[in-house]
Symmetry: C2
Subunit: 258 residues, 2 copies
Amino acid sequence: MNLSPKTGEGIQALSEERKDIHNSEIPVVCRSCEARHRGICGVLSPDQLLYLSKFTNRTIYSESEELVSNGEQVERYANILSGVVKLSKLLIDGRQQIVGLQFAPDFLGRPFKSKSETTAEAVTDVRVCSFPKSVLETMIQKSPELERILHEQSLRELDEARNWMMTLGRKSASEKVASFLYLIGANIDPEKNITMSPVSFEIPLKRADIADFLGLTIETVSRQLTKLRKSGIISIANNRSVVIPDMRALHRACEENC
Amino acid sequence: MNLSPKTGEGIQALSEERKDIHNSEIPVVCRSCEARHRGICGVLSPDQLLYLSKFTNRTIYSESEELVSNGEQVERYANILSGVVKLSKLLIDGRQQIVGLQFAPDFLGRPFKSKSETTAEAVTDVRVCSFPKSVLETMIQKSPELERILHEQSLRELDEARNWMMTLGRKSASEKVASFLYLIGANIDPEKNITMSPVSFEIPLKRADIADFLGLTIETVSRQLTKLRKSGIISIANNRSVVIPDMRALHRACEENC
DNA sequence: CGTCCTATTGAAATTCTTCAACACTCGTGG
DNA sequence: CCACGAGTGTTGAAGAATTTCAATAGGACG
C-alpha cells in the first residue's frame, strides 16, 4: 500500500481565530481542513475527531502517481482533501477503463477487503488524509452509525457506476463526451445550482484519461470536443479551460432521461 | 411500488422433519425457504427471523413483469427466492442499458432512498419474499451489525458494476459475449468451482436482453454466439441451452486480467 | 534549439449497426 | 388438423460510426 506518508505536510501551528466555543475540542490538524465539515469527518463528534486525528497522516501525490496498485494489500483508508483520483482497471493486453473518478472530500478505499481490484492514481496533484483501516473499524464498533455513512458513500458510488454503465453501453461518442463535460461541470462546484449558467472549469483529465473514462480513443474524444465547440455548446481555451454558456443545452446533448 | 403481494403463495403447513433442536424457533415460512441460509436471512437469529417473518409476503412475478418502475416510490425490500431480475435504465429515445442482474438470494432494493432510478423487471419467472423497508430499518437500529450485511452486498454490487464498466467500455463484441456467458456460467451454479468443466446451463435472457446488457444489437450478439460456437468454445441447443466444455478457454476469450 | 508530451486533423481500415429477408416455435382458432 | 400470426433468432449486404495509422502543430523544459 502506498497511502503511507511520503511528503507529509506535518502539523502546523495555526494562528487561527476561534470560531466558536467548541473549537478548542477540535484537533489542530482538522481545524483548517477542507474536509472538516464534509465526508466522514463531517459526522464525527469532537471526541471521535480527536481520536481519529491521532492516527492520520497527510500525504501529497503528484500527478500520475499511484495511490493503490492493482492487487495490492491495502491497509489504510483516506479522505481526499484536494485533487482528483481515478480508479481504473486493465485488460491483459493493456486496454484501460476508468471505473470511477473521486473528488474531495470523497472517501478512498474498499471497506472489508484488503486486496484492491482496481488501481487508484492521482489525475491531478492530490492531497489525502489517511489512517489505518483498523482505526476506523474500531470506531465503527463503538459507534455503529458510522457504518451508515460509509454505506451511503458506497451506494452513491454504485449509483454513479450504474449511470456510467448507461453512458458506456448505449451512448454515441458525442453523447459520451457531452456527458463527461456535464459530469465535471456538475461536480466542480458542488455549491452552485446545476442549472446556473455559465459554468467554467479546467478539465482535470488529459485526453487519454477522458478516452479511458468514456471507452473511446483520444482521437475520437478530440474530434467530438471540436464538434461540440463548433456547435456552440462549449468553448475551450488552452485545451483545458472549458466554458459552458448553457448547462441545459449541454444536458440535452447527453440525451439523458432524468 | 409493485412489490406488494399479488400472487401470494400463502403459508403452508410443512410436515417437515425436525433437523435440530432449534428448528422449532424457526418460522414455518422460512423452514423450507431456499434463501434461509443465504443473503440477509442467513445471518439473522431465530428471534430476528421470527420478527421479520411476521411482515413478509411471498410474491410471484412472471417473465417481463415489472417489480419496480423507474421513478417509483419504493416501500419494500425483497429477497429473490428464485429467478433472475434485471435492473435497467432508459435514455429518452428508448435506448436501454441493463445495469445489473440479480440472482437468488440477492437482496433487492436501494437502501436509504425511496425513489428508484432504475427499473427492475423479471427476466424469468421470479419469486420474491418482500417486507416493508421500515421493518428492516427497525431491525438495524436494534442490531447494527445487520447494516454490515447490507453494506457488503452494496459493495459486491459496486465491484460487479465496475467490472462490467470494463466490459462495456473496452471489450470487443466477441469478448463481451464471452464475458456474458462466463458470468452466467459462474453464477448459475455457485457451489461448483468455476474451473470445473464442463458447465452447462440455460441462458436466462433472450437475445434482446443480452444485447441491452452488453451494449450491442441483437444481431451482433447472435453473430458472436455463432462465432463462439463455430470456434468450439461453446455449444448451443434450442437457442438457450449452452454447454461450455472448458471454462478456461471461455475465460481466455474474455481477455480478462484476473 | 531539440526533445518530449499533448492535442488536433485527415484518410483508410475496421467494427458494429441498420435494414431486410428468412427460419423456427408456439399457441389460437377456423 | 392445419393455417395463421406473433414472437424470437439467424444470416447477408450495405451503411455508419469509430478506430487505426500517419502527419502536423504547439507548449514546456533542459
